[in-house]
Structures are given as structure tokens and as C-alpha cells.
Symmetry: C2
Subunit: 212 residues, 2 copies
């Protein structure tokens, strides 16, 4: 299995070589990537070796094929169908984020329990009553679900998803949900990131006062 | 300075005790928190000691004051004004996400360079031409900026922000931007998280085949 730190760096390389590709640059050295992204050149070579990509001495990597290979390897070229549970402000924002589609994620339906939302569309995506989830899952075979419900309902919703053949959960709530071992759980903690930013701002303010 | 792992766990505690508070539970033991969130009880006690919060023997923590203290400590109770640069699909999704407001983040203006968007509102927030940024920053004193521009423009935009008194950047692009040391940089890599989820799904499929 690929080490997670490698997997976190690969999208940086992709973003960078896509930019170079847009500027019609043909080759890039690991030194140039290293300098721009602040990653060790030897680390870059090691990371890319997982994709069986090797640079050529003095020439480096071919930009366009590298971008293609990274895009393919990261799963962004394939279409992954997903359900989204909880079409509140964050949930409906994700449904409207067409950027996700570029990264291979296709939200086919939203689910909610609020009768004023159920039956409507968010963007072009229909919102169904969550009680329909088991039926809809069976008829579509979708195995990915995004959770954007209020934190207090996150675990209960996750349990229902797991009972109904969901194999991967992308959790946007700040709640630390638990799932069986065979279920893939990915947490994206926007609000934790916000807390960390606030805290660092505070610290940098304080240290400013200290040195005065 | 608070260790980052502690800072990442505090929002989990907050989400959990807020849920208990909603159910009118008065006390919670660190064992109960530990069991639910899968964190060591001694670690919880240590994390909360940074907030000068101590549980009482056999009673545990008082739920409501703990929720208040965590909310306060994490900076969610204060209003932090911010600009958002790049009002494409992800950017405008963030502008519509009223959830951010609950966590203290108030987006006061969006900026873009697309003339078909500039001058409009997203949600209730006006979108201005990015050339107006320096003026608008000076007149408002806003020091936080969220970057949601195409990855290839991320570094250039960041440079402009730093030159115009922005002190903290929340980077939603997959581009690894560089900023001076005194600037707070927080990356939220939604698409990396997606790549990690895809990769784990693949691995768990593969291991399923192997055991057959």
C-alpha cells in the first residue's frame, strides 16, 4: 500500500505539472519541482517511483505524460458515483461544486429529512428523502457516501449507510464517527483547519507583542 | 504553543459534548468521551488541561461549560472577517456555506477577474474585481483571505495578498503555495482527501480479491 505522505504529495506534483503543461513546458527536473514545492528532490524521485515513473538524467520528467500518469494514478480520471447525505449549507455547497466532477466525483443524489428540501434540486442534483436511501442504493449500486449532516446525527447516519452497502464514507462533519474495519473512512475537517488557522494567528500576534 | 494534534482533537470533543448538551446530559466522564471518540482517556485529560479544564473524580466534566470553553478556545465565538479570492464553483460554494459563520468566519467580499461574475452577489456577498483588492483591504482592514482560484494562479494571487497586508491565508487549491514566515498558511486539500479515499477503496478491493 502507498504511504499516505506520498499520496498527499502527489496532488501537489499534479497541480504543478498541470500548470507547466498549460505553459507548454516540455520537461521538468526534480530540482525544479523540489524548489517550487519545497520538497526534497530525492523524495520526489521516490514518490514518483511508486507510479513507475523515472526521470531522465539531465532532462528530467516529461511534463505532459507525467500529468496524465498522476491524474490516472490518483483516480481523478475515473468516474466515482456518490450520494450526499445532509443538504444543508455545506452539503448543498458540495453539490454545487462542479470542481469535484473534475476530480472524478459524481454526486448522483442528495438525501435529507427536511420536507421543505426533499423533492427539490440542488444544482442539477435531486434531493430525496433519507428513508428512500436503501432502495436508491440497491437500484444504483452507488458505494460512496458523503456525510454533511449536523454533527449530532453523523454516527447514526453512518450506521445506516454501512447497513446499506456503502463501502466508503467521506465525513465532512466534525464528529469522529466509527465504522467497521472494512469500510473506508475519510475525514475532511474544514472547521478543525479553521481552528488551527485562528490559533496560529493568535500565536503570531502574541509573539509580535513579546518582541516589542 | 498548543500541539497541532491536540488542536485537531479539540473540535471532536466539542462536537461530542455539544451533542450531549443537546440531549441535556449534565456530566460526561473522560472514559465516556474516550470510548465514543476512540481517543485515550489520559490523552483527553491532557488535551483539556491546555484549556485549564479539569474533570472531577467520579463525576467527570460538566457538559455545558465544557462546550462553551471549547467553542471559545477554538476561536469559533469570535467574528473573523475574511475575503475570498476566486468565486468559481468551490469558491462560491464556500461563500454560500453559512456553516462557516457558525464557526466565526465571516466572508465580507469575494474577488474574481471574470467580468461576467464581478459586480454580482454570491449568496448575500458582493463579488468585486480583484484589481480593487488593495483598496478594499485598506478600507476594511480585513487580514484573512481564502484562496479558491485555479491552481496555476494560486502562487501569484498569494503574492498579491501578502503585499497587501493579508496575515493569514486559507488555501483551498491543490497548489503548494509559499509565503513569508510571518504569514499564517492553512491548507485544506479536499482533492487530496478524495485521492486518498479512492486509493484506499482500491486497496480494500484488491485485498478482497487476494483472500478469495
Amino acid at each position: 500500500m502507498l504511504p499516505e505522505p506520498t499520496l498527499r504529495r502527489l496532488p501537489w506534483y499534479l497541480a504543478y505539472v498541470k500548470m507547466l503543461d498549460g505553459k507548454h513546458q516540455v520537461h521538468v527536473s526534480s530540482t525544479q519541482i523540489a524548489k517550487t514545492l519545497n520538497v526534497d528532490a530525492s523524495q520526489i524521485a521516490k514518490d514518483l517511483s511508486f507510479l513507475n515513473i523515472k526521470g531522465k538524467t539531465r532532462i528530467g520528467y516529461e511534463v505532459h505524460p507525467l500529468a496524465r500518469a498522476l491524474n490516472e494514478f490518483l483516480g481523478f480520471k475515473h468516474r466515482h458515483n456518490a450520494f450526499l447525505i445532509g443538504t444543508g449549507s455545506l452539503g448543498s455547497a458540495l453539490m454545487r461544486d462542479l470542481g469535484l466532477m473534475q476530480y472524478g466525483l459524481n454526486i448522483v443524489a442528495g438525501f435529507d429529512i427536511d420536507p421543505s428540501i426533499v423533492g427539490r434540486n440542488v444544482g442539477d442534483i435531486p434531493v430525496l428523502d433519507f428513508s428512500m436511501f436503501p432502495d436508491k442504493q440497491r437500484s444504483t449500486g452507488v458505494s460512496i457516501a458523503i456525510i454533511a449532516v449536523p454533527a449530532q446525527n453523523a454516527q447514526e447516519v453512518a450506521n445506516t449507510l454501512v447497513q446499506n452497502n456503502i463501502k466508503a464514507i467521506w465525513n465532512f462533519t466534525p464528529f469522529r464517527i466509527k465504522v467497521p474495519r472494512n469500510i473506508v473512512l475519510q475525514n475532511t475537517s474544514i472547521y478543525s483547519d479553521l481552528a488551527i488557522m485562528y490559533n496560529r494567528m493568535e500565536s503570531s500576534n502574541n509573539s509580535k507583542y513579546c518582541t516589542k
